[in-house]
């Protein structure tokens, strides 16, 4: 008997009839030097099975010892998510058979996670804040990697045999699970994406992981269920794996909403199952059917002793927290006098770090911002690179800004200087000299000043008479005569000198 096929319901219609409930599980691979329970390296890309030892290979007789840095990272993630840190917790064994797990159990945490009951305030595109509840964050170890050989697509279905590499087995993972997220309505896909983005930024700010979804150091599973609109009930949820980008998070939610609505509206029942996201079609596909649901037979890990972080240790770690992303944004909004829209534009452009660094190098915030957001963004777009990939540093930009405000360069010539740096012609001063962007010769300046004064004798008289303000016209004339390359400030000084 073939499975019935259902329609995909249009998004708006889904929302007319149903309320979605979201749940997101994110696994973060820590960037510690060594694995969770042994001293093997965690570096990516080594020859297979060259970063293993008796412990992470699960050899008979081997034993685990907990990596202190991994615990610290877990606590810091918990603190950043406003969680309570367990005063006492243990590891547990999650028992199931699979060849990528050397012990055929995973050392994880079950009912005693190290961090629990927190939240993350997610700022949406329109500036609205949505609070996502965090159920728990806990420590566990990663599995090895399997290559399936012989099948058509290199995937597990139809493969003849598999090849196992255990380099990744035992790498520390932190699993972060949200509470159920109701009330998202039509913003469910957006909120899911915004949450994963915010979590990524937060973990990145902590410096504990590369959080690259495209490299697998951050993995997301999307849980979704639908209930009849305004019923307050809970539907049956599906779990979607293989969600490898932020965009896929959004699309997976959207697809599942459409699919489940189609099932429910046709009178069918949503099956509680694991599905796989298909990148190419932005859809989800059912995973292998299981006979019975998995019983992991959890029990406390007898080879490890409890972890009891002292209050002092937790406070010490709280003190190492960097300024977290939204706190920083709030501060910059205030310091730079930005509106919500302006801030949002900067965040979306990825310009915040660059502007802040430019300000740190001495430039005024307004100038720093306008350079990065306008001219430099233009240059990045032309070159088809990200802003932070442009071959110019914030310090260099700050120097250019200084030259403009001192009058040494006009805005136009400043852009020329920037062009030169981007073209690889050298540092700012070198480019300015090589391109002849300023008149540095004093004698030339004096000659130009004298010539301008001679050309406007009545203005010259006014200046001699004490009307210093009138010098402006002479400065303008000199700038015009030198094609903007004169140092305006020096010109003004010379005018005063020559007229006194």
């Amino acid at each position: 008997m073939t499975a019935p096929t259902y329609d995909l319901i249009d998004f708006d219609e889904v929302l007319e009839k149903f309320d979605p409930t979201l749940g997101l599980e994110v696994h973060v691979e820590l960037s510690t030097q060594t694995k969770m329970f042994c001293g093997c390296p965690t570096e990516f890309g080594a020859e297979p099975n060259t970063q293993v030892c008796p412990t992470c290979l699960g050899l008979p007789g081997s034993l685990p010892v907990v990596n202190r840095s991994a615990v610290e990272a877990a606590i810091r993630i918990g603190l950043a998510l406003n969680c309570s840190i367990a005063p006492w917790c243990r590891f547990a064994r999650k028992n199931y058979f699979y060849p990528d797990m050397p012990k055929n159990f995973q050392t994880s945490q079950y009912d005693e996670p190290i961090a629990f009951d927190g939240y993350l305030d997610v700022i949406l595109d329109d500036g609205e804040t949505f609070r996502v509840g965090i159920e728990r964050a806990h420590m566990e170890e990663d599995t090895g990697k399997s290559l399936h050989v012989g099948g058509a697509t290199g995937r597990i279905h139809g493969a003849e045999y598999s090849l196992l590499d255990y380099n990744r087995a035992g790498v520390p993972l932190i699993e972060i699970v949200t509470k159920m997220i109701p009330g998202t309505r039509e913003r469910a896909p957006e909120i899911a994406r915004a949450y994963v983005t915010a979590l990524r930024d937060l973990v990145k700010a902590l410096g504990v992981s590369d959080v690259r979804m495209d490299q697998g150091s951050m993995r997301c599973d999307v849980n979704l269920s639908l209930a009849p609109r305004d019923s307050g009930e809970l539907g049956t949820r599906s779990e979607t794996k293989n969600v490898n980008s932020l965009r896929s998070v959004e699309r997976a939610v959207r697809y599942e909403m459409s699919r489940q609505a189609g099932v429910l509206l046709a009178g069918g029942e949503v099956i509680q199952e694991t599905r796989h996201f298909q990148e190419d079609t932005a859809s989800t596909r059912s995973g292998r059917r299981k006979e019975t649901s998995e019983d992991y037979r959890y029990f406390p890990e007898p080879d490890l002793v409890p972890i009891a972080p002292s209050a002092e240790w937790v406070e010490e770690l709280r003190g190492t927290m960097p300024e977290l992303p939204w706190a920083r944004r709030a501060r910059l909004k205030q310091e730079w006098q930005l509106s919500d829209e302006e801030l949002r534009d900067l965040v979306n452009a990825g310009a915040l770090d660059l502007i802040e660094a430019t300000v740190a190098a001495g430039a005024p915030a307004g100038d720093a911002r306008s350079w990065w957001v306008a001219y430099l963004t233009q240059q990045a777009n032309t070159r088809e690179v990200a802003l932070d990939e442009l071959p110019i540093t914030p310090a260099q930009v700050a120097h250019v800004i200084e030259l403009v405000s001192s009058g040494a360069l006009t805005n136009k010539l400043a852009r020329s200087a920037v062009d030169g740096v981007l073209a690889g012609e050298g540092d700012v001063d070198a480019v300015v000299a090589a391109r002849g962007l300023v008149v540095s010769d004093e004698g030339e300046l004096v000659a130009a000043v004298d010539a301008a004064l001679a050309a406007q004798p009545d203005v010259a008289d006014k200046i001699r008479g004490g009307k210093v303000a009138a010098a402006g016209a002479i400065v303008g004339a000199v700038m015009k005569a030198t094609g903007g390359k004169a140092d305006a400030k020096r010109v003004r000084e010379l005018i005063i000198e020559r007229c006194s």
Partner: protein, 107 residues
């Protein structure tokens, strides 16, 4: 399982044993099913005596030794070479362990 989980009352039949064998990846024979069913049933009745102890407020012990916070620093330690790792492997290829095709799914 045919036994009632609320009270540890045994009655482990053949089917129950077959289910346990599957969970534990043991391809037990038909004869073994009968033998083990009888033996396990007896053993479970005997170990269920733990239920006779009233221990509602007693905390469980999972460690005989009251140790806490045993850690190692995040420092490299020499491991095995690829050759050593694969030395006992029933089959290997290209530096990896070669295993028959896997039917189940990764968790």
């Amino acid at each position: 399982m045919s036994a009632d989980p609320g009270s540890p009352g045994p009655t482990l039949g053949r089917d129950d044993v077959a289910h346990l064998a599957r969970l534990a990846r043991l391809a037990v024979t038909e004869d073994e099913l009968d033998l083990f069913a009888g033996q396990l049933d007896t053993i479970i009745e005997w170990v269920a005596k733990v239920g006779e102890i009233a221990a509602v407020d007693v905390p469980p012990t999972s460690h005989a030794v009251p140790l806490e916070n045993v850690f190692r620093p995040d420092e490299l330690r020499p491991g095995l070479t690829q050759e050593q790792a694969l030395a006992g492997a029933p089959a290997s290829q290209d530096g990896r362990f070669r295993v028959p095709r896997i039917l189940g799914e990764e968790q």
